[in-house]
């Protein structure tokens, strides 16, 4: 029972949304519209759930004195700091519990929440992802090796695109005469991207769409029910 009624819910809302596409009249369209607006609010709570889980996991690690527990404490402190200053003085132009915080904003140059975002969050986020530049360089050296006809195709295309998508690529083959213009690296790159690449990506897209159609139907019809969790 604890599972069947939610499955029925999923079935009913799924069928209503599907029906509203083909019968764009009352009551289907208005129910779908309402559902879409509710969706945003429920999704908002789902994100709250994520934050609660993060706090719980970290608290338990700190309580159990797990390995590196001090760092999880740093995580919790930064979380609390961001939330508290956000609630007290708001963000951007939005006012918080204590209003706009004119005095503290004058001292910091921006609201405390925005100050942390601009000076810490942006840098941490950007640096974390920029680490990948080093790893891809290492991967290029280690794994981009000629082995077979297929790997040759991959390598040749990769090399053309790496050169063609830079200003250096235009310079390297810029001297080619007009009749050999198709060999000009940026032109060759555009051709690869526009035709063979698009063909393969379109094949992936069509195949994935067929897969999504199947899995969506399974969800709506209640065949796929793993998203509801175990029977506990």
């Amino acid at each position: 029972m604890k599972k069947n009624i939610p499955l029925l819910f999923a079935f009913v809302v799924g069928i209503i949304v599907l029906a509203s596409e083909f019968i764009p009249h009352r009551p289907f369209n208005s129910i779908t519209e309402t559902l879409q607006n509710w969706f945003m609010i429920i999704s908002g709570f789902a994100i709250l759930l994520g934050q609660i889980s993060l706090v719980r996991v970290n608290v338990s690690k700190i309580r159990n004195r797990s390995r590196d527990w001090q760092f999880y404490l740093a995580c919790l402190i930064s979380f609390a700091l961001m939330v508290i200053i956000g609630l007290l003085w708001g963000k951007q132009e939005a006012r918080g519990i204590l209003g706009q915080g004119a005095a503290i904003t004058a001292n910091l140059g921006s609201k405390p929440f925005d100050y942390l975002f601009d000076n810490v969050y942006i840098h941490l986020s950007a640096t974390m992802f920029s680490l990948l530049a080093f790893f891809i360089a290492s991967a290029a050296y280690r794994a981009f090796i000629i082995r077979s006809f297929e790997s040759n195709l991959l390598m040749i295309t990769g090399v053309i695109v790496i050169l063609g998508r830079t200003s250096m690529g235009s310079m390297l083959t810029g001297w080619l005469p007009a009749r050999l213009h198709f060999l000009h690296l940026p032109v060759l790159t555009d051709f690869i991207m526009q035709y063979p690449n698009s063909a393969a990506q379109r094949a992936i897209m069509i195949s994935a769409a067929l897969g999504i159609l199947g899995s969506s139907l399974r969800i709506i019809l209640g065949i796929e029910r793993s998203y509801l969790g175990s029977d506990k």
Binding site: A137, I145, M193
Partner: protein, 281 residues
């Protein structure tokens, strides 16, 4: 398993070389010229063709991690749109979107001091839900965004005078670094409401969106990565943040090619070593 098992020292050497390859051209720029690609031109032409007074949605569907690639596109598109007299509604499908939108508007407002918040541009903030949220915008923008990020009511903002739903905007541009992003805008804004869609993505995801540039006009051009951002800057006649980085990009690409070459030579030598030994025995 890879043929090349590079040692810790090799790894660190690769990291150091890459670091230097990016650092040096930033300090001593070379000034190589960039050519404009057809897809960037297509995006530019679509925006350029819209009349003065057009209202566009610019969706900031990215976070600071990809700002280097997408923020120059945002500022270039804002500059282009404002110079054509378009109005911009900023939305965000990613939570950090409103904040990066704010940074872009602040930068551009210095160049266009006559642009007034609420009349020429507005920042509506973040909504979760991705595709479902865009679908809801198709029925009513006001229901999705009753207030902007400053707490001003939808009806009090002059920019929305003739805008009730998604179909009323002239075009939509999404700058996206993943899901939800430009794909959702194509699927709903164009394929349901026939609103022309263009935009930019990080280079990583660009190849996957190219099939949408087709005879169905699902997507009008695409700016893929920093190179495309620099192409857009060239088209609007400005030396922006993307253009100045292209030399460093080129040199780093050259270094990556050298790594591939050296890696292959090393792999070839490893593969042929046992054969040579067997031949001599």
């Amino acid at each position: 398993m890879s043929v090349n098992q590079n040692t810790q020292t090799e790894r660190r050497l690769i990291f150091l070389l890459l670091f230097i390859a990016v650092l040096v051209p930033l300090i001593f720029p070379i000034g190589w010229k960039t050519e404009v690609s057809p897809h960037a031109k297509m995006a530019y032409d679509m925006i350029d063709s819209k009349p003065e007074g057009s209202v566009a949605i610019l969706s900031f569907d990215y976070e600071p991690s990809t700002m280097t690639e997408l923020q120059p596109m945002a500022t270039a598109i804002i500059e282009h749109a404002w110079s054509k007299g378009h109005k911009i509604i900023a939305t965000a499908l990613w939570p950090q979107g409103p904040q990066v939108a704010d940074l872009a508007f602040k930068e551009m407002a210095a160049k266009f001091p006559d642009k007034v918040y609420g009349e020429d541009y507005v920042n509506l903030g973040y909504k979760p839900g991705g595709m479902v949220t865009i679908q809801a915008m198709g029925k009513s923008l006001k229901d999705v965004y009753p207030l902007d990020i400053n707490g001003k009511k939808y009806d009090d903002l002059p920019i929305f005078k003739n805008i009730r739903a998604l179909r009323d905007v002239t075009y939509a541009a999404s700058l996206s670094s993943g899901v939800p992003g430009i794909k959702e805008w194509i699927m709903v804004a164009h394929d349901v409401h026939s609103v022309p869609v263009t935009g930019g993505t990080t280079a990583v995801s660009a190849p996957g969106f190219l099939p949408y540039i087709n005879n169905q006009n699902q997507l009008y051009g695409l700016l893929g990565g920093l190179k495309a951002a620099s192409e857009y800057e060239i088209m609007i006649g400005t030396v922006g943040p993307a253009t100045v980085k292209m030399d460093a990009q080129s040199i780093a690409h050259l270094l990556i090619l050298i790594f591939i070459l050296v890696g292959n030579i090393k792999a070839w030598r490893i593969r042929h070593k046992p054969k040579q030994q067997a031949g001599t025995e």
